[in-house]
C-alpha cells in the first residue's frame, strides 16, 4: 500500500460513509452531529463514552450502527455483581473432550454497548477497558481476538450516582470521544413517536457496508495527511490545556494522539485526504472534554463537562488557526 491515499480511495470511502450516515439517520432522528461524531470515532477506530440521561437513544444509536455495517452487536448491562468473566468469557472444562474450552463473553461482538459502565466494580470495568485497548481477551494464558472492527459504546448516567464506581481518569483516557445525545427537537421527537417502535431490536436496518469495508476505511483514515502547521495547531491546543489554571492537569500524550487521529477521521468523513484546522477545532470538545478535570470539581458531572467544554472553546478561540 502506498503511503498516501489516492483520490479514488477517498471518493470510495466517502460514498461508504455517506451510506452509513444515511442509514443511521433513518433511525436516529435529528442528531446529525452525533451521527457524524460516531462515524468519526468509527473511522478513527476509537470507542465512545456517552454521558446522558437514560432513554435518549444511546442503545438505538449503537444498534443501528452495528446493523448498518452488517456487524454483530451485543449489549452488556453493567451491575455491581457483574464479574469480569461475564464480560470477557470463561474457560470451562469439557468432560467429553477432556480439556478447557473458552466460552466467549458478550464482548466478542463488533459493536458492544456497555450500558451504565460505572455500575460495575473497578475489576470488571478494567476487564472491559483492557479489551478496548488491545481488542483481544487473554484467559488462562490463551489470547482470543475479538475481531475487527471493534467499537465499544459505554454509557454513564450522569445523574444517578448511588452505588456507582466512577471511572478513573486514566481509564476515561481510553475513550476516543465523550458524547452527549441531548433531547431531540420536538419535530424530530414527533417523527420518533410516529415510527412507534418499542424496542431497539425491532428496528429494521438494512446493511450498507461490511466489516471489512470499515476496516479498510480505518486504514485509509490513518493515512490522511496532516500538515506540520496543523500538527503544531494540535500541539498548541494541547499545550494550552496544560497551562490552563482551571484544569488540574492537562491533556496526556495519548490525548494529543487521539486528537490527531480523530481529526484525520473527520477529514475522511468530510471527503478529504488532508486535515484542515477546522477538523481539529471541531472535534476538540468531544475528544478532550472527558480527559480534563476542573480544579474546583463540580458535583454535577454534566455541569462539569459543560464547563470544561466552555473552557476548551475559549482555548480554541484564543489560538490562531494556521492559514
Amino acid at each position: 500500500m502506498s503511503d498516501f491515499v489516492s483520490g479514488a480511495a477517498v471518493a470510495e470511502a466517502r460514498q461508504t460513509i455517506e451510506r452509513l450516515r444515511a442509514s443511521m439517520r433513518q433511525t436516529i432522528k435529528g442528531k446529525d452531529d452525533v451521527i457524524e461524531q460516531v462515524l468519526v470515532c468509527l473511522m478513527a477506530g476509537g470507542h465512545v463514552l456517552i454521558e446522558d440521561l437514560p432513554g435518549l437513544g444511546k442503545t438505538t444509536l449503537a444498534y443501528s450502527l452495528a446493523r448498518s455495517m452488517d456487524c454483530t452487536f451485543s449489549r452488556i448491562q453493567f451491575t455491581s455483581d457483574l464479574l469480569p468473566s461475564d464480560v470477557t468469557g470463561v474457560a470451562i472444562y469439557d468432560e467429553q473432550r477432556k480439556e478447557f474450552i473458552f466460552k466467549k463473553g458478550p464482548v466478542f461482538a463488533s459493536v458492544v454497548l456497555a450500558d451504565e459502565i460505572n455500575r460495575a466494580t473497578p475489576k470488571t470495568q478494567s476487564a472491559l477497558l483492557e479489551v478496548m485497548d488491545r481488542a483481544r481477551v487473554t484467559i488462562d494464558g490463551a489470547t482470543h481476538d475479538v475481531g475487527r472492527p471493534f467499537m465499544v459504546f459505554a454509557t454513564q448516567n450522569p445523574v444517578d450516582y448511588e452505588g456507582t464506581f466512577a471511572l478513573p481518569e486514566s481509564q476515561l483516557d481510553r475513550f476516543l470521544m465523550c458524547l452527549q445525545m441531548g433531547y431531540p427537537q420536538l419535530q424530530d421527537e414527533l417523527e420518533i413517536l410516529r415510527s412507534a417502535q418499542t424496542a431497539y431490536d425491532d428496528i429494521v436496518v438494512k446493511p450498507v457496508a461490511t466489516g471489512s469495508d470499515i476496516q479498510h476505511l480505518q486504514n485509509v483514515a490513518r493515512q490522511v495527511f496532516v500538515e506540520d502547521t496543523v500538527l503544531d495547531y494540535i500541539l498548541k491546543i494541547v499545550a494550552a490545556t496544560r497551562t490552563e489554571v482551571e484544569f488540574h492537569a492537562g491533556v496526556s500524550v495519548r490525548g494529543s494522539l487521539a486528537l490527531k487521529h480523530a481529526a484525520q477521521a473527520r477529514a475522511l468523513v468530510r471527503g478529504r485526504d488532508f486535515v484542515m484546522p477546522e477538523d481539529v477545532s471541531e472535534i476538540v470538545a468531544p475528544v478532550l472534554v472527558h480527559r480534563l478535570g476542573l480544579v474546583r470539581a463540580s458535583a454535577d458531572a454534566l455541569e462539569e463537562r459543560r464547563t470544561v467544554a466552555a473552557i476548551l472553546k475559549r482555548i480554541v478561540g484564543s489560538i490562531v488557526a494556521p492559514v
Binding site: 498516501f4 500538515e227 485526504d273 489560538i319 492559514v323
Partner: protein
C-alpha cells in the same frame, strides 16, 4: 471557517493592565536611585513589594482591609510629620508620591487608579529629571513613556470591552478571576493575538515619537526648569565628600577614597593642554591648632560682593596665541567653589548664577552648593605654575600688606623656635629668595618624609604639624603642604595651602577628574602680586631623585580611560553636551546643519531626476531607425517575457527551491493560505467552491497531490471578485 485573529479577553486585558501598571511603578521608583533624597526604605519596599505583587496579583487580596482604611490617613500623617521634621518640602513631596505610588501598585486598580498611577509616576520621573539632569533620566523617560502609553491603551481597551459597565464596587479582598491566571499563558496569548504589523506600527510610532521629541529638544530654545521653578532650592544636598573652607588633616585623603567622577573638562584644543594640571578650588590661609581654613578676613576682604550674572570677568591678560576655551561639567557634591586652574579672562554659565568671585585669589564661590551637574565655560585660563593675584597695587610690596593669615605660622613660641631651627637647617644663614627656599625646603621634606596615605602624627605636646616635621613619619599631601607652608612662613615668605584636584584622565576628547584626584599643595608669594605653585608632595621626591626643576612637566595626566565604564561616561557627557547651552550658536549650527543636509539631499534627488529626464528626452528625440526600433521592441519583449515567466513559473520554481533549501512554511502553502483568507468564506458561488478546494489542498494537502499552483492562484484571483456578484444578487 473562521480565520479571524483572536482578541485578548477582558480578563486577559485586566491582567495585562496590572502588569503594565506594576512595570510603570517600578520604572518610576528607580528615580530614587539617582535622586539624592533620603528614601532608601521606600526604595527597598518598592523593590520587594512591587515585583512580588506584579508576579502574584492574587496576594493583593490578602492585604488586610484595615490597611486600606488606614492608608490615606496614615499617608497624610506621615507627610505632615515629614515636612515638620525635615523641613524639606520637595523631599517630603517625593516621599509622599512614592508612598502613594507603592500603594497604587499593590492593590487592584480601577481606571481612575491607573490614571493616578501614571500621574504619580510622571511626577516622580520628571522631578528627578529636572533636578538631576541625569543621563538615567533620558533612558528612564523613554521606558516610562512607553509603559504609560501602553497602559493607557490597555485601559481604553478594557473600558471599551466593559462597555461602560464598570466592574462594580472594587472588592479589594476578593481575588478577581484574572489574578489567578498564569503570566506564561498571557505571554503566549499576547504572542498569538498580536500581529507583527501591530508591533511594527506601534514600534514605528514610538520611535517616531522619540525622534520627533529629540528634534524638538534640539530645536526649541533651552530654558532652565530648575532655576525657573527653584526646585533645587527646595532640596538640600547631602554630599558625602566635598571641599569646604575648613580642612582638617585627613579631609583630602577622605575625598581621595571616593573614585567617582567629580569633574569633566573639555578643552577646545587638546594639543594645548599642559601635562600638569592643578584644579584650584579653595585657598586655606589661616593655620590654627592643626587646621587650615579660609580666614574670615580673606573671605570678607578678598571676595567681591555677591552678584548674579551669567558672566564673570576675570583679570587674566592674554599674552600669546588664541585662548583655549575650557568647558567644565562639575558634578554635585564637590563643594560650592568652582575648580579653576588659575586666572581667567571670563567665565560663562548657562544661566544666571549667584556667586562671589575673587580676582585676588582667582577663586569663584557659588551662592549655594549645586545639587545637579553645573556647567561653565572658561576663556583664557592660566594653567601655568605662576599666578598673578590681581590684588590691589598696595598689596604688591613684598607681602607686607598681605593678610596676616598668609604670613603667620600660627604656632606657639616653642614650636616657632623649632621651625626656625629647621629653616636654618634648610637655608643656612642665607636669606634665600622664595623660589630657592621652596626648592631647598622641598628637598629637605623629601629627605625627612616619605609619601603615604596612611600616616600617623607622632604623639606629644605642641603643634601636630611641627611634631610631624620633627619626626620621620610618612605623610600625605596635606601634611607635606601644611608643613611646607609653616616652614616658608617661618622663613618669612607668605604662603598658602591650596586644595583641589591634580591631573585627570583622558577619556576620548575630555578629561575625567575623579574625587580620588583630590590633592593639596601650596602657593608661595614671589612678591609683586606673583605666586608660585609648589607641590611638595610630588616635586620634592622628584628633586631629590633627579634634581629637575620643580615646575617641570610632570606626566601626571593618567593614561586613557578604557572599558565599558568609560564608554558609559562618554554617553553621559554626550547628554550633558546636549542639555548644556552656553549660547545659541551651537544649537543654531545644528539646526542649520540638519536643514542644509535635508535641502541638499532633496536638491540632489531633483537634479538626478532632471538629468535622467533630460537624457531620456534626448534619446527619444534622436531619429528612429530600424535598429533603434528593434532594440526598443526587443527590450520591451524581453522585459515582458521576464515578468510573465516569473509570474507563471519563476516564483513557483523559486518557492520550491526555497522550500527544499530553507526552513519555515512552504511559500506555496503560504500563498494558498493568503488566498484562502482573501476569498469570501461564505460564498457559495461554484467557481469559488472549486478554487477553495484546490487552495485548501495546496495549503494543507500532501505535496504529491497538489494541483499546479500557478493556475489555482490565478483562478483564486478571479474568484476573489465573485462574492461581490453573489452579494449583489442577494
Amino acid at each position: 471557517m473562521e480565520k479571524k485573529r483572536p482578541q485578548l479577553e477582558l480578563d486577559e486585558l485586566r491582567q495585562l493592565k496590572w502588569l503594565l501598571g506594576g512595570m510603570l511603578a517600578l520604572s518610576a521608583i528607580t528615580s530614587l536611585l539617582y535622586l539624592e533624597i533620603e528614601a532608601s526604605v521606600f526604595l527597598v519596599l518598592g523593590a520587594i513589594l512591587v515585583p512580588t505583587f506584579l508576579i502574584r496579583p492574587d496576594w493583593s487580596a490578602r492585604i488586610p482591609a484595615l490597611v486600606h482604611k488606614l492608608v490615606f490617613p496614615g499617608v497624610v500623617a506621615f507627610t505632615t510629620y515629614d515636612v515638620y521634621a525635615h523641613n524639606e518640602v520637595l523631599a517630603s513631596l517625593v516621599r509622599l508620591d512614592v508612598l502613594l505610588l507603592l500603594y497604587r501598585a499593590c492593590h487592584y486598580r480601577r481606571r481612575r487608579d491607573d490614571l493616578q498611577l501614571i500621574v504619580l509616576g510622571l511626577f516622580l520621573v520628571v522631578m528627578a529629571g529636572v533636578i538631576t539632569v541625569s543621563l538615567a533620566f533620558a533612558l528612564q523617560i523613554i521606558v516610562f513613556v512607553g509603559c504609560a502609553l501602553l497602559l493607557m491603551f490597555v485601559v481604553t481597551l478594557v473600558d471599551a470591552q466593559e462597555g461602560g459597565n464598570a466592574e462594580g464596587p472594587l472588592a479589594l479582598s476578593v481575588v478577581p478571576a484574572w489574578a489567578r491566571r498564569s503570566h506564561a499563558v498571557l505571554l503566549r496569548r499576547l504572542r498569538e493575538t498580536c500581529d507583527w504589523r501591530v508591533f511594527a506600527l506601534g514600534g514605528g510610532l514610538f520611535v517616531g515619537f522619540v525622534v520627533l521629541s529629540g528634534v524638538l529638544f534640539m530645536a526649541i530654545p533651552r530654558f532652565q526648569l530648575d532655576s525657573g521653578f527653584a526646585f533645587d532650592r527646595l532640596l538640600s544636598k547631602k554630599s558625602t565628600t566635598g571641599f569646604s573652607d575648613v580642612m582638617k588633616f585627613g579631609d583630602v585623603t577622605d575625598i581621595q577614597q571616593d573614585d567617582s567622577v567629580a569633574l569633566r573638562v573639555e578643552a577646545s584644543n587638546r594639543a594645548q593642554v599642559p601635562a600638569v594640571l592643578y584644579w584650584r578650588l579653595v585657598i586655606l590661609d589661616e593655620y590654627r591648632s592643626g587646621t587650615f581654613r579660609m580666614s574670615a578676613g580673606l573671605k570678607r576682604d578678598f571676595f567681591r560682593r555677591e552678584e548674579t550674572s551669567m558672566r564673570i570677568a576675570g583679570s587674566e591678560r592674554l599674552s600669546r596665541g588664541q585662548p583655549l576655551s575650557w568647558t567644565f561639567y562639575l558634578e554635585p557634591g564637590v563643594g560650592r567653589y568652582l575648580p579653576l586652574a588659575g586666572g581667567y579672562r571670563q567665565i560663562a554659565f548657562t544661566e544666571p548664577q549667584i556667586f562671589r568671585a575673587s580676582s585676588a585669589l582667582q577663586l569663584v564661590m557659588l551662592g549655594r552648593e549645586p545639587v545637579a551637574m553645573k556647567a561653565y565655560r572658561v576663556e583664557g585660563m592660566n594653567t601655568g605654575d605662576r599666578l598673578a593675584d590681581g590684588m590691589r597695587e598696595d598689596f604688591r610690596t613684598d607681602g607686607a600688606d598681605l593678610p596676616l593669615t598668609m604670613t603667620d605660622v600660627g604656632v606657639s613660641e616653642n614650636d616657632r623656635a623649632v621651625l626656625k631651627k629647621i629653616v636654618a637647617e634648610i637655608a643656612g644663614e642665607a636669606d634665600l629668595p622664595p623660589e630657592k627656599f621652596a626648592h631647598a625646603a622641598m628637598l629637605w621634606l623629601a629627605k625627612q618624609h616619605t609619601y603615604s596615605l596612611k600616616s600617623g602624627l607622632p604623639p606629644g605636646q605642641g603643634d601636630p604639624l611641627v611634631r610631624w616635621l620633627t619626626s620621620k613619619e610618612p605623610g600625605h599631601c596635606e601634611l607635606f603642604a601644611g608643613a611646607f607652608t609653616l616652614l616658608a612662613r617661618a622663613a618669612g615668605h607668605p604662603t598658602r595651602v591650596v586644595a583641589g584636584f591634580m591631573g585627570g584622565t583622558w577619556n576620548d576628547d575630555y578629561l575625567m577628574v575623579r574625587n580620588s584626584d583630590a590633592h593639596a599643595w601650596c602657593e608661595i608669594s614671589l612678591g609683586r602680586g606673583q605666586w608660585l605653585r609648589i607641590d611638595p608632595t610630588n616635586d620634592g621626591p622628584r628633586l631629590l631623585a633627579g634634581g629637575q626643576q620643580a615646575t617641570s612637566a610632570v606626566p601626571n595626566l593618567r593614561t586613557v580611560e578604557r572599558g565599558w565604564a568609560a564608554r558609559l561616561d562618554r554617553l553621559r557627557l554626550l547628554w550633558y553636551r546636549r542639555i548644556v547651552n552656553f549660547d545659541r550658536t551651537e544649537q543654531q549650527q545644528l539646526i542649520h546643519t540638519i536643514k542644509a543636509s535635508a535641502e541638499g539631499t532633496g536638491r540632489r534627488i531633483r537634479e538626478e531626476a532632471a538629468r535622467i529626464a533630460e537624457a531620456l528626452r534626448k534619446w527619444l528625440s534622436q531619429p528612429w531607425d530600424v535598429a533603434r526600433f528593434g532594440t526598443v521592441v526587443g527590450a520591451l519583449l524581453f522585459g515582458g517575457g521576464v515578468i510573465l515567466g516569473w509570474q507563471r513559473y519563476g516564483r513557483f520554481w523559486w518557492a520550491r527551491w526555497i522550500n527544499r533549501h530553507g526552513h519555515g512554511l512552504d511559500p506555496i502553502r503560504r500563498e494558498a493560505g493568503n488566498w484562502l483568507r482573501r476569498i469570501d468564506q461564505e460564498s457559495s458561488v461554484r467557481e469559488v467552491l472549486v478554487v477553495r478546494d484546490q487552495l485548501e489542498r495546496l495549503r494543507y494537502g500532501r505535496r504529491e497531490t497538489w494541483p499546479e499552483p500557478g493556475p489555482v492562484f490565478r483562478e483564486a484571483k478571479k474568484a476573489s471578485r465573485a462574492p461581490r456578484v453573489g452579494s449583489a444578487r442577494g
